[in-house]
Symmetry: C2
Subunit: 182 residues, 2 copies
């Protein structure tokens, strides 16, 4: 489909130019236009309405926010939050199976398989055949994996400390305690 002229918005949307007494805006951000007469316009600060009563909304926002910082901080050693959790659990429970790992982290077995493919290829983890059960794989960290995890933990701890000032030490503590019990 060839790029049409500024999106025809397939369908209606013809005339109609009434409404919208509360016009538009620009602010809401940083520049702080020096032009005295701030273009009139809308809320500038937008109302979250009903969302203010939904825990899910705020949890989502903070989750995204925290992950972004985490990702940025561990980008150097190329470890994602998911990979980090996998390495940590394997490190703390050598020999566990993929099923158990997936179960405790709440991810699909299928998802974990592909994740381990990567980590294996990178030489960080290995899947040894379980001596007791032919179906299982005993997961372990390689030497390199242990070293890598060590670095990851250091950076992650650093990331964690970084959250304190942004959340407030007391609030941070409270959140961590409260969430851990769920």
């Amino acid at each position: 489909m060839p790029p049409v002229k500024r999106a025809p918005t397939p369908g209606k949307k013809a005339g109609r130019a009434k409404a919208a007494s509360n016009t538009a805006s620009k602010a809401a951000t940083l520049p702080l236009r020096k032009s005295s007469q701030l273009r009139r316009v809308s809320p500038a600060v937008i109302d979250l309405g009903e969302l203010n009563n939904h825990l899910g909304y705020f949890v989502r926002r903070i989750q995204v926010w925290i992950f972004q910082d985490f990702i940025r901080r561990l980008a150097r050693i190329d470890i994602s939050p998911a990979q980090f959790s996998v390495l940590v659990i394997i490190g703390a429970n050598e020999g566990l199976s993929q099923s158990e790992l997936a179960g405790t982290l709440g991810i699909e077995r299928a998802r974990l398989v592909r994740m381990l493919h990567l980590l294996d290829r990178r030489g960080l983890t290995e899947r040894l055949p379980s001596t007791a059960d032919g179906r299982r794989h005993a997961l372990r960290l390689t030497r390199a994996g242990q070293a890598h995890l060590k670095q990851a933990k250091a950076l992650a701890a650093q990331h964690e400390v970084n959250l304190l000032p942004k959340l407030g030490a007391e609030r941070y503590r409270m959140l961590l305690d409260a969430l851990r019990e769920v």
Copy 2:
């Protein structure tokens, strides 16, 4: 690629049957095997290790958990968490622009465009040309959109109430208050 024999795991993984003194397991779940001698094996209850000190991990878990309930509850009217937030904001701020909407919700303008395509097609929202600025679109809910949002809010409120017992009323309140200020 034809399905090989139980995943050759491209690469090494030959012999090697040593290690893994702490064998494997099965439990960790429900059955509670009646067979007295519980197959020896690993932790049964797996150690989260370092993850216990990472707020991000718990926030992520609870976020996924909350969203699952939300999705399940609003499946009937086919509204996702993201769509819900979009409808709520438009409803509370008629005439705002896509940029503003995307900004306040923390999603990409590009992402929002496709979301609005859907909502438009479903007749829930409409994009009126802004009279003051030729580039902008003044977003609004259609009559149908308002009605749909009303239902969504009812179900969402129901979902929210459902979280109380599972989190504990006090904890719920605390979390909501704490997160709202971030």
